[in-house]
Symmetry: C2
Subunit: 230 residues, 2 copies
């Protein structure tokens, strides 16, 4: 194993030995949304080989980043330790930094519920949201359906995607103020390259609610492609 070490006594190289291997930070990204079972992770990372996932989870446990928690009645989940959760600002900063290098999606690229949830949390501007009225957005991106409830400086994202609708009553929470389906171009709305009004009908299709609320959405969720916001 000495061959895998960077051979430096340094915080950065130590960090990279813990979470710098291929796929590791994407596993962390998904676990930042919540505890996940092995199968959930595999589904959220469609291209990860199963043996790599198993190996990474063992390494992350050995590094004190992830914990394996047997569930009461069925199966088990992986969850981040407190130490692992401290990676959230780093993962978000990486997401912000990588944001402006995302071109258009490659053939076969997917958007997952967890990645979109983290993207929303990354783009969320609490100080802007705080001065806007509480709003619930429901968005469809490909097969993913998310509900983002913004109230004051707080954001709560729920994934409705693979959930079988409960027999009685609609989805949890109140009805969304705005429901829309977005293509990949939603990225340009988040970055401000595209104004919401232009986006409507092009990359955004409003399903229900007041279309002008898309403006509020763009104010609430924003990533400046120039690094001005750090």
């Amino acid at each position: 194993m000495a061959g895998r070490s960077y051979g430096q006594y340094c915080g950065v190289s130590t960090a990279l030995e813990l979470v710098g291997e291929r796929w590791a930070l994407l596993i962390v990204r998904d676990l930042l949304v919540g505890p996940r079972r092995y199968t959930d992770l595999k589904q959220g990372l469609p291209r990860i080989p199963t043996n790599i996932l198993a190996t990474r989870l063992k390494e992350l446990q050995a590094g004190g980043v992830v914990r394996r928690v047997p569930l009461a009645h069925c199966g088990l989940v992986y969850e981040l330790t407190a130490y692992g959760r401290e990676l959230e600002p780093i993962v978000q900063a990486l997401g912000r930094w990588g944001f402006r290098s995302m071109g258009d999606p490659e053939e076969g690229d997917v958007v997952t519920g967890d990645s979109l949830t983290m993207a929303l949390r990354t783009a969320f501007r609490p100080e802007v949201a705080a001065v806007l009225p509480p709003t619930t957005y429901q968005m469809h991106v490909g097969p993913v359906v998310l509900r983002a409830r913004v109230a004051g400086a707080d954001l709560h994202v729920a994934q409705l995607t693979p959930a079988a609708p409960p027999v009685s009553g609609p989805v949890p929470g109140d009805a969304p103020d705005l429901e829309f389906a977005a293509g990949p171009g939603i990225r340009r709305v988040i970055s401000g390259e595209l104004t919401p009004s232009v986006a409507i009908g092009d990359v955004v299709r409003v399903i229900s609610g007041d279309p002008t609320l898309l403006e509020r959405f763009a104010l609430t969720f924003h990533i400046d492609p120039e690094g001005t916001s750090t």
Copy 2:
């Protein structure tokens, strides 16, 4: 190349495709200190295979992170683009996060001038330094010699290590207020596990100047091992 893609349309995976490969962020770390020539990078990353270094530099250029700059009279240097420099807070955050997992150095681990320079910049607390008198520290860690000049909220680190001493006059700048040699245990001073007075004679050997200035050093450069500071 499609086999190397994470297959996700997401800022984090995009970032990891740019700087997530092995060694890439350590190259960035060294370039954050300043432009470096190929040979400098190779020396600062003693364990990197030369073909990997060449490959990474090409990939980082293709990603717009690094630029290749021919020098006027001799050779050329690599330097970060503006986009690459935006990785500084991320590299620092990784260094802070990894800091508390650094055990004692493994056999063969090295400390380089660039890694120590970044470590100092990472541990530097401008708001604390601002209320302390200007101070110049000169530290020896293994073969590395660094001079850190703290003035108000500003820090300037110079590497004296491999520099042939100029024929006339001493090293640049004024004489250090405190000069000391530190072992790996200096880490415990930075983290506050060890008080400066205890450290003296154990992990720190004062060469010249007032030994009580080590206290000021520990106040100026500090990384809280608990994630309280984020």
